[in-house]
Amino acid sequence: MTIERRTLLTGAAGAAALGGLPFTSRSARAQAANTIRIGVLNDQSGLYRDLSGPGSTQAVQMAIRESGITQRGINVEVVQADHQNRPDVGSTVVRQWIDRDGLDVVMDVPTSSVALAVNTLVRERNKVFLASGPATSDLTGAQCSPNTIHWTYDTYMLARSTGGALVAAGGRTWFFLTADYAFGHALERDVSNFVRSSGGQIVGSVRTPFPGTTDFSSFLQQAQRSRAQVIGLANAGGDTINSIKQAAEFRITRGGTRLAGLLVFITDVDSLGLEVAQGLVMSETFYWDLNQRTRAFTQRLGTLPGNIRPSMVQAGCYSAALHYFKAVMDMGVPAAKASGLDAVNRMKAMPTSDDAFGEGTIRPDGRKLHDCYLFQVKTPQQSSGRWDYYNLIGTTPAAQAFRPLTEGGCALVRA
C-alpha cells in the first residue's frame, strides 16, 4: 500500500514537472525581464566585516521591504560576496556577476583599491555602482564615472571635518601613519592639503603594509620622535583599533601629542572600549542615536550579525538602495536594466529622503550630499551603556561638507 502510494506520488510529481516545464521556463523568462539583481560586494571575513559585511546586505533587504517595489510586481534578487579586500578578487566576482548572472547593481564595496577596480568595470558594462563603503575621493574626482554614485562619506569630507577641528584646536604640525593602499594615500593627501592650506605643516609620514600589520608600536615610536603635534591615523577598521590601543599603551600622547583618528567607525569605538577611546574626535555622516529618525531606522533594521549597531556604511547601503528603487519605479524596469547610465541620471535628478541621512541630493560628479557630523567619544561616566558612545560637537551642512564640484577634476563636470 505504502509502495503503491509512493509510486503514485512520484508519477504525479513527474507528470507535473514534465507538463509544467515549458510553462515555468516561460514564466522564468518573463520574471528575469522583470527582476532587478543586486550584488552586495564587501569584506565578509576580514577587518572591515563588522562595519560592512552581512549587515550591509541586511540593510539592502530592508530597503526592498520599505520601498514597496515588490508590491509593484517587480522582483528584486540580492546576492553577496566576499572580496577579501583584494582588487583582483573583487573584479573577478563583479565580472562574473555582470557577464554570467545579469547583475544590474553593485553595492557597498569598502576598501578603496577594490572600489576603484569595480568603478571601471561597472562603467565599461554600463551598470550601476552605488558605493557606500569606499573612502577615496578619487571616485568623484580624477576617476569619476557616470555610472557611479559615491554615497556615504569620502576622504575629503573626513579631512575637512576631523582635520579642520584639530587644526582649529592648535594642531599645526602633523605626522601620518598611512595604510599603504589607495584609501590611505587618498586620505593622507586630502588631510595634508587641508592642513597646509590652513597654515600647518606635514613633518613626516610612514606607510604601513596593508593588510597584515598588527603591531603599530614601531610606527608610533617613529611618529613620536618626529615631535609632531598631531599623529594622523590614515587607516581604518582593525588597523585604527590597534593603532589607538598601542598608542595608549606606549603613552605616545604623554608629551602633548594628539591622536587623530581620521576614519573611525562606531564598531571601532565599541571594540576599543570607552576607557581607551574617550575624548577621541571623529566624523561620521550617520549615528544611530542622532535623532528620532535614525533611532527609528535602527529599530526597524533589527539586530545585525555580531550583535552590533549599524555603521554609516550599512546605513548608506539602505539609503542608496531605497533611492535606486524609487528611480526604477519611476522609469520602469526595462529602461533601468537597459542602461545603468540612465538609471544613475534618474537618481541624480531626484532629491533623496530617508530616515538614515534625512534630505539630500546627488551632484553631477556622482557625489551624494548630506550633512557631516563631528563627534567626540563619551567618557565611561557619560555613557549609559553599550553603543551610547558619541557627543555631537559640530555639524557641517551638506553644501560645505564635501569637496567643491569644480575642484575635484572630474571630467563629467567639465563636459
Binding site: D50, T208, D215, I241, G306
Partner: protein
C-alpha cells in the same frame, strides 16, 4: 656624519626593544609548532586558531565568570589543550601513517571552521581585554616608554622557551618522546604507551599556543583573525629555523622580530614581506633551515 649616526641609533634603539617584544610572540608560537612537528610529524595549521581560542577563553572567563588574568593564564591553556586533545584523538591520530599533506589539510580545515564560528558569534572588530592592574605601569628608558606588560611578556616567553627546551632535551619524559619519534614500535615494545604520549604532546603544543593567546589578549584586540595574521609569519619562522628544531625556532623567532622592527624604520613598506624574503634565501641556501638537520 656623527650626528646622522647618532640619530640613526636613536631611531633604532626603540626598534630593538620592540623587535624583542614581537619576537617573544613569534618564539612562543613557533615553539608549539616545532614541538608538534618534531614529535608528531604533523604540520599544525590550527595553531593560529588555537592561539586565538586562548585569548577568547581568557575573555570569556573574565566576561562570564569574573575570572581574571592570572587564573586565565593557567585555565585557558588547559581548556584549549583539552580541545586539542579531542581534535587529536578523533581526527589527527588517524593520519599519522599518511603523507604530511593530509595532516596539513585537516588542520587547515579545522582552523577555518573554528575561525568562522568565532567570527559569526563575536564579529571581527575585537573585544577589549584590559591589562591586569599589577602590570599597568612601565619603564622610562629615556629613548622610549616601555609598558610593564610588554616587559612581562618578554620575560615569560623566555622562561617558557627555556623550560620547554629543558623538558624535551634533558628530562626522562623528553627522552621517551624523542625516542618515540625515531622508533615508535621499539619504544612501544618497552611498555610505553606511545599513542597516549602523542596525544598529550599535541595537547601540550596547543596549550602553548593558547598560553601565547592569553599573553596577547591585552595587547591586541581579542579578534577571530588575530591568529591568522600571526600564523603565516610563524610558519616562516619555523621553516627558517629548521622544521622541528626547538632551539632553532626560538632563536629565529627573536631574530626575525628584531629584523622586522628594523625594517619598519628603514623601509616600512617592506616590513610585512621581509620575513618571507629571508625564508626564500634560507630555503635556497640551506633547505633544512638554519638549525635543522638535513
Amino acid at each position: 656624519m656623527l650626528e646622522t649616526i647618532i640619530f640613526e641609533l636613536e631611531m633604532a634603539a626603540p626598534q630593538i626593544v620592540l623587535g624583542l617584544v614581537n619576537g617573544a610572540f613569534y618564539a612562543l608560537l613557533s615553539l608549539g609548532l616545532a614541538v608538534i612537528f618534531g614529535m608528531l610529524n604533523v604540520i599544525n595549521f590550527t595553531h593560529g586558531a588555537q592561539f586565538m581560542m586562548g585569548a577568547f577563553v581568557a575573555w570569556m572567563l573574565l566576561h562570564y565568570l569574573g575570572i581574571g588574568y592570572w587564573w586565565a593564564l593557567i585555565l585557558s591553556p588547559l581548556i584549549v589543550g583539552v580541545v586539542g586533545v579531542i581534535i587529536e584523538k578523533t581526527m589527527i591520530s588517524r593520519l599519522y601513517k599518511l603523507d604530511h599533506l593530509y595532516g596539513l589539510l585537516l588542520t587547515f580545515g579545522c582552523a577555518l571552521v573554528i575561525e568562522g564560528v568565532f567570527r559569526n558569534n563575536f564579529g571581527v572588530s575585537g573585544l577589549p581585554y584590559a591589562v591586569p592592574p599589577e602590570l599597568r605601569g612601565g619603564f622610562d628608558l629615556g629613548f622610549m616608554f616601555l609598558p610593564g606588560y610588554r616587559a612581562w611578556v618578554v620575560l615569560v616567553a623566555i622562561i617558557t622557551c627555556l623550560v620547554t627546551w629543558y623538558v624535551i632535551e634533558k628530562t626522562k619524559i623528553g627522552s621517551y618522546l624523542r625516542a618515540a619519534t625515531e622508533r615508535p614500535q621499539l619504544v612501544q615494545a618497552f611498555g610505553i604507551n606511545v599513542p597516549r604520549m602523542m596525544t598529550l604532546t599535541y595537547g601540550a603544543g596547543v596549550a602553548l599556543a593558547a598560553f601565547a593567546g592569553v599573553l596577547a589578549a591585552p595587547i591586541y584586540s581579542v579578534r577571530p583573525d588575530m591568529g591568522a595574521s600571526f600564523i603565516i609569519i610563524v610558519f616562516a619562522v619555523v621553516v627558517i629555523g629548521g622544521m622541528g628544531s626547538i632551539l632553532g625556532s626560538v632563536v629565529t623567532g627573536f631574530a626575525l622580530g628584531f629584523l622586522e622592527g628594523m625594517t619598519r624604520v628603514f623601509w616600512p613598506e617592506a616590513s610585512a614581506t621581509v620575513v618571507f624574503f629571508i625564508m626564500a634565501i634560507v630555503l635556497l641556501t640551506r633547505p633544512a633551515g638554519l638549525f635543522g638537520r638535513a
